[in-house]
Amino acid sequence: MKLTIKILTGLALAALMASPALAAEGPLPAKNISYSFEGPFGVFSREQLQRGYEVYKQVCSSCHSMRFVKFRNLGEPGGPEFSKDEVKAIAAGYEVTDGPNDQGEMYQRPGLPSDTFPSPFPNAQAAKAALGADPPDLSLITKARAGWEGKLSSLYLTKMFFGQGGPQYVYSVLTGFQDAPAGEKGPEGKYFNPYFKAGPWISMPPPLSDGMVTYGDGTKATVDQMARDVSAFLAWTAEPKMEARKRMGFEVLIYMAVLTVLLYLVKKAIWSDVEH
């Protein structure tokens, strides 16, 4: 089953890549790596989400905000499932602006689990002034980007069988930095990345390098590993209720399948005395 899916995916992507018009114009389709949370039965790997959080915290968060995620989400079922104390400790590690107090002043205090992740910049303009571009918020990034498009996806078929490739897109951009082709020179301070949608020149410098994150569980922090982990983590931040959704989906489908059969039998019994 898995193998069949892989072969089909490979073929479809090969067909997409083979299209000369696409290769000439747009970005490369994302590398189709597989994740534990794909398919109707897929669930997140807690360890991977926890590692992905480490990457977000130690690398991405210095420029990218994650404004829809609250610290408490990290401890909720279906996510990285950090323990209560871990969540409190993570939150307390951030300074949060609160207020106004009795004197009418805003003040800084350590974060609480109910707070959202503070953004690294107060607004888009500040980010742009400091970095040269406004880095997108990461909460929804894997739902807001499609890894592949083209003729098939216009029929919704690619999406139906292979998903939209959002996490794969994040992975591909993170691992897709290359030396610019000979003779091509991009704008000052930009980097060559053929997977970048609005590219191929991207303002973000290659963010990952081997060993730059220290994983708590001792996993070796290669660029590939970190890109997988953080893209999985961002798949969770975009769709934090995925596991609950799929679980309820099976309950609903089983219930409705049985109900459909019963209703069919009732209908048949009722109609048995009428020629129709």
Binding site: N73, L140, A144, K159, R245, L263, V266, W271, H276
Partner: protein, 418 residues
């Protein structure tokens, strides 16, 4: 078939109420005893399915509104608040957004069923025209609903669609400014769309009531297109069609559940998870799938005003279909040539949808123009001519006759083998 039923309620309270307001006897006559042709096939279950979808949309919508903030700087965030913090908010929102798709799927099947079996013909023209109004109101409602989450595609769809009105000569720009409530799509646009998106479903409910009323005057059409001749031809709506419809409804909801729980974003656009940004136009602006055929018609015509006119006429044509389809025979079953043009029209509509999903470049333009032409050609030339030129197959003398001969066919086919 309306008015007082002769039924006497045994319960004294029921009798007391019914003699003052005959709501019970009307309900009994119209919802339970209503004589319905006994040969309706499963294509006829989509009416009931649509009623259920309308109720689902209204109920999920009302609860969503309890948590949603229709203000340009908060709409996107409050949608995410629903997805993340509201108990089962993700379920409500995915039901509502995919519910719109399932609603349109059902309504398109329902309309094509009507065309095939001649349900638009006398004496059901008003029933049919009410249906076309329902389609138009549905489209307006769905469009305005899509704008509410205030993502990139919401914003730019609003801009493109409202801009269509600028094609109107002389007053175009003024009308667009009036629609927007400003000089660009902005907060006033969002707030009025929200208001109308909440209002129109109740207008729809009222129109559906009229639609059903208009249905209950002549009664149902049926696959033979032959009118009911005697009590032999009908069964009471309950339990026969209540159970048949219920079975079909639950089967339909099964497909709906597949989308909601396992492919909730299949029919959406990724870019609508990016908050609206008036300064950044998306590379491809595409409407939801159910608007793609109209979008293809719009873009197939090089002139903007004519394109807009063509797009609106593609629906307005349906109003006059009862008079464009000149055949005296209702059901396509007995019209060998009509049948083929009918399926060509279905294929044409699907191709138009595919064209609408693709950028208007290269061969898509040509395909779009051919299919647009074919759409209008079918309605304006083929349907009127067919009624005059086509020789229909002989009609059964009654519904019961048709049912009996259908039952006999397998036996007579088996006869030579004996």
């Amino acid at each position: 078939m309306s008015g007082h039923s002769s039924y006497e309620f045994k319960n004294p309270v029921a009798r007391w109420l019914d003699s003052r307001l005959p709501i019970l006897s009307v309900a009994r006559a119209q919802a339970l005893d209503f004589p319905t042709p006994k040969n309706l096939n499963y294509w006829w279950t989509f009416g009931g399915i649509l009623a259920v979808m309308l109720v689902i949309q209204i109920v999920t919508g009302i609860v969503l509104v309890m948590h949603f903030t229709p203000e340009a700087s908060m709409a996107f965030d409050s949608t995410e608040h629903i997805m993340r913090d509201v108990n089962y908010g993700w379920l409500l929102r995915y039901m509502h957004s995919n519910g719109a798709s399932m609603f349109f799927l059902a309504v398109y099947i329902h309309i094509f069923r009507g065309i095939y079996y001649g349900s638009h013909k006398a004496p059901r023209e008003v029933l049919w025209m009410l249906g076309v109004i329902i389609l138009l109101v549905m489209m307006a409602t769905a469009f305005m609903g899509y704008v509410l989450p205030w993502g990139q595609m919401s914003f730019w769809a609003a801009k493109v669609i409202t801009n269509l009105f600028s094609a109107i000569p002389f007053f175009g720009e003024t009308i667009v400014t009036w629609l927007w409530g400003g000089f660009s799509v902005g907060n006033p646009t969002l707030q009025r769309f929200f208001s109308l998106h909440y209002l129109l479903p109740f207008v729809l409910a009222a129109l559906v009531f009229l639609h059903i009323w208009a249905l209950h005057v002549p009664g149902n059409n049926n696959p033979t297109g032959v009118e009911v001749k005697s009590g032999q031809d009908t069964v009471p709506f309950h339990p026969y069609y209540t159970m048949k419809d219920l079975f079909a409804i639950v089967a339909f909801l099964f497909v709906y559940a597949l989308l909601v729980f396992f492919l909730p974003n299949l029919l959406g656009e990724a870019i609508n998870y990016v908050p609206a940004n008036p300064l950044q136009t998306p590379t491809h602006i595409v409407p939801e799938w159910y608007f793609l055929p109209y979008y293809a018609i719009l873009r197939s015509i090089p002139n903007k005003l004519l394109g807009v006119i063509a797009m609106f006429s593609s629906i307005l044509l349906l109003f006059v279909l009862p008079w464009l389809d000149t055949s005296k025979v209702r059901s396509g079953t007995y019209r060998p040539i009509f049948k083929q043009f009918f399926w060509l029209l279905v294929i044409d509509a699907i191709i138009l949808g595919i064209v609408g999903a693709n950028p208007p470049e290269g061969s898509w333009i040509i395909v779009g123009r051919i299919t647009t032409f074919w759409y209008f050609f079918t309605f304006l030339i083929i349907f009127p001519l067919l009624g005059l030129l086509e020789t229909p197959r002989p009609l059964p003398s009654s519904i019961s006759d048709a049912v009996l001969s259908k039952k006999k066919t397998p036996e007579s086919a088996a006869a030579p083998a004996e």
